[in-house]
C-alpha cells in the first residue's frame, strides 16, 4: 500500500492535507456557546416540571399611595387607579369600590365635595405593616380602638392621627388586615369624626357568646 501511495504522490498529499485541515475546520467553525452544556452526572435527579393552572397571587392595589386624602380629586383617583370600580354611597360620601381579585375584598375611596376624604385599604397578603410603621416612624399609636367585626378575632385599630394613618392589626405580630388613611388631625378630632364614621370605638364590644 505504501508503494501505491509512493507511486501516487497526489494521493499522499491529499491525505496529508485532509488530516491537517479537518481539525482546523473544526476550530474555525463558529461554536454556539449555548450548545456547550454542562455534563450532568448520571446520578443527578432532573426535576420534572409539572405545569398547573396558576391562581392569581394575592396582592395589594398598586398606586394607592398616590391618592392623598384631602388633596386628590375623584377625577385624579380614576386617573391613578383606573376606572374598574363600582360606585356607591355611604353616610353622605361617594364611595369608589376597587376590587382585589381573586378575593371578595375591595379597597374603598370615600369622596366628599369632589375630594378624597378616606382611603380604606384591605391587606390580603401576609405582613407586619403596623410593626414596621412603628419601627420606621419611631412613634407609638395615639390609642388602641375597637372594631366590633374584628376585635373578637384579635385585631384592633392603632391610630397615628397626626400622620393620617391607622392600622387594623394584631398587637403581638403587627399583622395588619386593613389600613385607613385620612387627613392628618388631632386624636380628639379623629375620635369625634373618623372613628364614628367607621364605627370604631374606644370601648370593646361585648364578646360573650351564649347558647341556651
Amino acid at each position: 500500500m505504501l508503494n501505491k501511495i509512493k507511486k501516487n504522490k497526489i494521493w499522499l498529499i491529499v491525505i496529508l492535507v485532509v488530516l491537517i485541515l479537518i481539525p482546523i475546520f473544526i476550530l474555525i467553525l463558529p461554536v454556539n456557546k449555548n450548545q456547550k452544556e454542562y455534563k450532568i452526572p448520571s446520578s443527578a435527579n432532573i426535576p420534572t416540571v409539572i405545569m398547573t393552572p396558576t391562581i392569581p397571587p394575592l396582592q395589594r392595589q398598586q398606586n394607592l399611595e398616590k391618592v392623598v386624602p384631602g388633596q386628590s380629586s375623584e377625577q385624579e383617583v380614576a386617573e391613578i387607579l383606573g376606572r374598574q370600580f363600582r360606585k356607591g354611597s355611604s353616610q353622605g360620601y361617594t364611595t369608589l369600590y376597587y376590587p382585589l381579585p381573586p378575593t371578595h375584598r375591595e379597597n374603598v375611596i370615600y369622596v366628599s365635595n369632589e375630594t378624597v376624604k378616606y382611603i380604606a385599604e384591605e391587606i390580603p397578603v401576609d405582613n407586619a405593616l403596623y410593626a414596621d410603621f412603628v419601627k420606621q416612624s419611631g412613634t407609638q399609636a395615639d390609642g388602641k380602638l375597637y372594631d366590633k367585626s374584628y376585635s373578637n378575632a384579635g385585631f384592633f385599630w392603632y391610630v397615628f392621627s397626626k400622620k393620617g394613618i391607622a392600622f387594623l392589626a394584631n398587637p403581638y405580630q403587627g399583622y395588619t388586615i386593613q389600613v385607613l388613611r385620612f387627613e392628618p388631625t388631632e386624636y380628639a378630632n379623629f375620635l369625634n369624626t373618623t372613628a364614628k364614621q367607621f364605627s370604631i370605638t374606644a370601648e370593646s364590644a361585648p364578646n360573650t357568646e351564649k347558647l341556651h
Partner: protein, 290 residues
C-alpha cells in the same frame, strides 16, 4: 529533492506529524468544551477560571484549569450507631383519652400535659371529662394543636351557671359558664378555642377574609351576634366549631336561626367554610363522630 521528499521514512514522519497535530487540536477542542463544566465544578469549590472568549484563550484556560488545585472531596462523617439498651418495661397507666377518669385532678393533669390546656375553676367531673374527650379527639389534628398552643398554654376557667356561656380573651384565655348537654358544651368549647386560634394566628383569619367572608352560615353566633350580627370574627369561630359538630348539631339559640337541628349539608352547601377550616385549621382531619 522531490524524490527525497517522498522517501519512505519521510512519509511515515508525515503521517505521525499529522496525527500529532490532529490529536493536539482535538484535545484543545475537547478540553475547552468541558472547561465550562469544570469551571462550574471549580466555582463550587471557590475557584474561578475566566471563561474563554475565543479559541486562542482556550490554552490559557487549560493552564488555569491545570494549575488550580483539585477540588476537595468532603469525607463523609462516619455515623456512630448508638448502643441500644433495653428500656425498662413501663408500668401500665390508664390512657386518659381512652376512658372516663374518676379523679378531677387526673383529668386536669391530663389536659395540661397532653393538650396544654390549663383548666381552672371547679367544674363537675362529668364536664371535665367531656372537655378531655373533646380535646383528645381534636388532638388527632397536629395542625390544630400547633395553631392553638404555639404561643403557650390556654387557660380555661369554668364557672357555675346555667346553659353554657363562653367568652374568649386574647390575654386571659377562655371563660366557660354553665353546662348544657355534651354536644352543646363541645360546640361552645370549640367556638372559643377558634377565637384563640384567630388571636394567635392572624394569617389564618386574613385567609378567611380573603376566601370566605362575607359568606355566612346559618348559626346563631354568625347571624345574630348580640342582635347586630353578622361579624367576621363570630362567623369564623362558628365555622370552626361546625367543622367538628356539623353531623349532629347546628349551633342555634332559642331555635334561632330557624331550620334543622343538625347540619349535614354543611360540607357541601357551605363548602368555602368547610374547606378552609378542614385544611387550614384541622389539616384535613375530619371529625364525624365523637
Amino acid at each position: 529533492m522531490k524524490e527525497k521528499f517522498f522517501q519512505k521514512k519521510f512519509i511515515i514522519l508525515y503521517f505521525i506529524g499529522a496525527g500529532l497535530i490532529w490529536m493536539g487540536l482535538v484535545s484543545v477542542v475537547y478540553i475547552e468544551s468541558n472547561v465550562t463544566y469544570h469551571n462550574k465544578i471549580l466555582a463550587q469549590e471557590g475557584i474561578i477560571c475566566p471563561s474563554p472568549t475565543s479559541k486562542k484563550n482556550a490554552m490559557q484556560l487549560l493552564n488555569c484549569y491545570l494549575n488550580t488545585p483539585a477540588p476537595t472531596i468532603p469525607v463523609p462523617t462516619p455515623t456512630i450507631t448508638p448502643v441500644v439498651t433495653k428500656a425498662p418495661i413501663p408500668t401500665p397507666t390508664v390512657d386518659p383519652c381512652s376512658s372516663q377518669l374518676a379523679d378531677y385532678a387526673v383529668v386536669k393533669q391530663a389536659l395540661l400535659t397532653k393538650n396544654k390546656i390549663d383548666l381552672q375553676g371547679d367544674p363537675d367531673l362529668a364536664w371535665a371529662n367531656q372537655t378531655l374527650t373533646t380535646m383528645c379527639k381534636l388532638s388527632s389534628s397536629p395542625t390544630f394543636n400547633t395553631l392553638l398552643t404555639a404561643q403557650g398554654n390556654i387557660v380555661i376557667r369554668f364557672h357555675t351557671g346555667s346553659c353554657v356561656i363562653g367568652n374568649a380573651d386574647m390575654n386571659t384565655g377562655i371563660d366557660l359558664t354553665g353546662s348544657c348537654d355534651p354536644q352543646l358544651n363541645r360546640a361552645v368549647l370549640v367556638h372559643e378555642l377558634a377565637h384563640m386560634i384567630a388571636f394567635r394566628n392572624p394569617a389564618i383569619f386574613n385567609s378567611y377574609l380573603s376566601t370566605v367572608w362575607p359568606s355566612q352560615i346559618p348559626t346563631y353566633n354568625c347571624q345574630t351576634h348580640f342582635g347586630s350580627g353578622p361579624t367576621a370574627a363570630e362567623c369564623f369561630a362558628d365555622g370552626v366549631a361546625e367543622n367538628v359538630v356539623y353531623s349532629y348539631l347546628r349551633i342555634t339559640s332559642g331555635g334561632l336561626p330557624a331550620g334543622n337541628p343538625t347540619f349535614p349539608e354543611y360540607p357541601t352547601t357551605y363548602a368555602s367554610y368547610y374547606n378552609l377550616m378542614n385544611t387550614s385549621v384541622f389539616g384535613s382531619v375530619s371529625f364525624t363522630s365523637f
